[in-house]
Symmetry: C2
Subunit: 205 residues, 2 copies
């Protein structure tokens, strides 16, 4: 499907997969270059469609950014659910496995790009209520998955910390975003490993 979409030629009419292809390429470019640095022209050029095509599908760049952040989060959501809701694994272990998997992913990627939700929170959220609202929604979905693992682990006694699971989950998510931020500045996995060490050694205990 990727080859088919990328191979689309210039033409004035909306065609199947053009919207999907613009978004898929857009997510990649926004993730690599940032929101401001990625122009509509860059995206349509990468998709090999005329600029007018963009406006067949998206009102403006902000609306595109909103769709891009939705696609980014939703395309990772089934994997996230699979890992964090897997009842065959103990809830605390699921959480740890999830973070360790992500550390390996960022290590192979060379500690670049980080999390698009985090990037947009700092680069775009002050200036776009539309995108800010989507970020808030996705962050809540994400932390609710942490929360359910923490709650289960508290019930089984694997976590004795009696702070509310929702509070610990939100803290965990925000701290993870902070560890990713520091990873970008240091270009190393030190902050990610420190996150795992403190979270599983001092908080979820």
């Amino acid at each position: 499907m990727e080859t088919q979409s990328t191979g689309a030629r210039r033409g004035p009419k909306p065609r199947p997969h053009v919207r999907e292809n613009l978004l898929r390429l857009g997510v990649k470019m926004l993730h690599e270059g940032g929101y401001t640095a990625t122009g509509i022209k860059d995206i349509v050029d990468a998709a090999q469609v005329p600029k007018g095509s963009f406006y067949n599908y998206f009102e403006n760049k902000e609306a595109f950014g909103k769709e891009a952040i939705d696609l980014y989060f939703e395309s990772g959501l089934s994997k996230l659910r699979e890992l964090l809701c897997d009842e065959k694994t103990a809830p605390l272990e699921r959480l740890r496995n999830y973070f360790e998997l992500r550390v390996r992913g960022f290590r192979s990627a060379g500690y670049v790009r980080g999390c698009l939700l985090g990037n947009f929170s700092l680069e775009v959220a002050d200036h776009s209520p539309l995108i800010r609202d989507r970020l808030a929604v996705h962050f809540r979905t994400w932390s609710s998955l942490f929360e359910s693992c923490i709650e289960q682990a508290q019930q089984t006694g694997a976590i004795r910390n009696r702070m509310p699971a929702a509070l610990l989950a939100q803290f965990l998510l925000n701290s993870w975003e902070g560890a990713l931020l520091r990873m970008r500045a240091e270009k190393s996995d030190v902050s990610l490993n420190q996150f795992i060490e403190v979270v599983f050694g001092s908080i979820l205990v």
Copy 2:
């Protein structure tokens, strides 16, 4: 001094305070608008000097960004030291006072802008080794101040957590950056208060 500098008129020659004024305005604009969105032209226009003036003082935008991040961090450093090294206050209380003061500051500012070190870490660090190095240096200076409070509080027994003070300090700093990131998406102090609750209720205990 501010009025004098802002009042500088256009002219081809380097003048006292021009460099300082460009940087001071640059920090403000980079903080409000972001690195990519702030052009050299925007900065010289705000300073009311011709574009050539910029190149009398800075090789390029990246070199300017490096100086801006240094100025940003260093202008807050004496206040940071004053709060965190104040021997009249117990070390754990100093840390808590520091974060509570910052929460009040972000609340009055309407939860925008956040921390320029964090913003540059996500927007610029992947693309500029020069700026990345400065971010890493400033983050280390900052966390060493946390570390010294934590170490002292461990010595007095105010913190029984025996994890290395350096590890806890780095985690604290990164988690704070993450809480600020989430603040930007939610436009509320919830993440900041959650940070304080978990840090002082479950980690520095």
